[in-house]
Amino acid sequence: MPLSYYLILSAIMFLIGILGVLLRRNPLIMFMSLELMFNAANLAFVAFAAYHQALSGQLFVFFVMTVAAAEVAVGLALMVAIFRTRHTIDVDELSMLQG
């Protein structure tokens, strides 16, 4: 398979992730779209690692996964805390910091 197959697939996944963040108002779905974008970047990393025979690309994927796991843990904890105090997690309702 040519390298462009993986890169275009990665670009399409990234596009769907962007659309999820921009279009959906449920923060859980926005988080999942974020994960999808991470995944798209990881696919490009692994593809380049294989085609250039450089193992560093795969290690970067490893680090991205770790940071994504940390980000999900903190983000979901924030969401639970917000839901407890405000009883909603609609992103349009959460405008307390707005003047």
Binding site: M1, P2, L3, S4, Y5, L7, I8, L9, I12, M13, F14, L15, I16, I18, G20, L22, L23, R24, R25, N26, L28, I29, F31, M32, S33, E35, L36, N39, L43, V46, A49, A50, Y51, Q53, L55, S56, Q58, L59, V61, F62, F63, M65, T66, V67, A68, A69, A70, E71, V72, V74, L76, A77, L78, M79, V80, F83, T85, T88, D92, M96
Partner: protein, 197 residues
């Protein structure tokens, strides 16, 4: 390239795109999460085809396993399956799609005409121990030792942050403080009795 190989790769790409679209469009957040699990599993198969078995298994266990279970747990904890039916405005939607499609077009044009996709027509034959766990571990503990240690600090701070954010004592203390406040205050200031939030 034989037609069978093309068919397999086309099917894999199709599953990836369809599951991602399913995640984007389903009304129920639980279905979205399950679509995403399928997407991650399919991407793990693609990692296998790229000679990255370690990353593929990490993908299945960390992403499709741990992270998505956390997502499902929070969705069910909050009862957020059907939350927010209200959609975004029409102008917002059109603008979002336009911007995203422009970005995709830019990326695809670059990949097809200027990028590395042109000269790299086929996967080079990889040495058998290219991405073995031993090779990855060796690189991780020599060249990438500092990032590896920083990762440990990130995970620790994430654990502490998650525990701090979700504990209940602070809220209960704030509530009792709010209940006590009017008793302590003199009665002549009724304007002060606005709720905390």
């Amino acid at each position: 390239m034989s037609i069978g190989v093309m068919l397999v790769y086309g099917l894999l790409g199709l599953i990836v795109v369809i599951t991602a679209l399913g995640m984007l469009t389903s009304r129920n957040a639980v279905y979205s999460a399950l679509f995403l699990v399928l997407n991650f599993a399919t991407v793990a198969v693609l990692y296998m085809t790229l000679g990255a078995p370690f990353i593929a298994l990490a993908q299945v266990s960390v992403y499709a396993g741990a992270i998505m279970v956390l997502f499902l747990f929070v969705i069910m904890l909050l009862g957020a399956e059907h939350i927010t039916q209200r959609s975004t405005g029409r102008g917002h939607r059109v603008l979002s799609v336009l911007v995203a499609v422009a970005l995709l077009a830019e990326a695809v044009i670059y990949i097809l005409f200027r990028g590395a996709g042109v000269e790299m027509a086929a996967l080079p034959s990889l040495p058998p121990d290219f991405a073995s766990p031993a090779a990855i571990g060796q690189l991780l503990f020599s060249q990438f030792l500092l990032p590896f240690e920083i990762t440990a600090v990130i995970l620790l701070s994430a654990v502490i942050g998650a525990i701090y954010l979700t504990r209940r004592e602070r809220q209960a203390a704030a509530r009792t403080a709010a209940a006590e406040q009017p008793a302590e205050k003199p009665v002549e200031e009724p304007a002060e009795k606005t709720p905390i939030y």
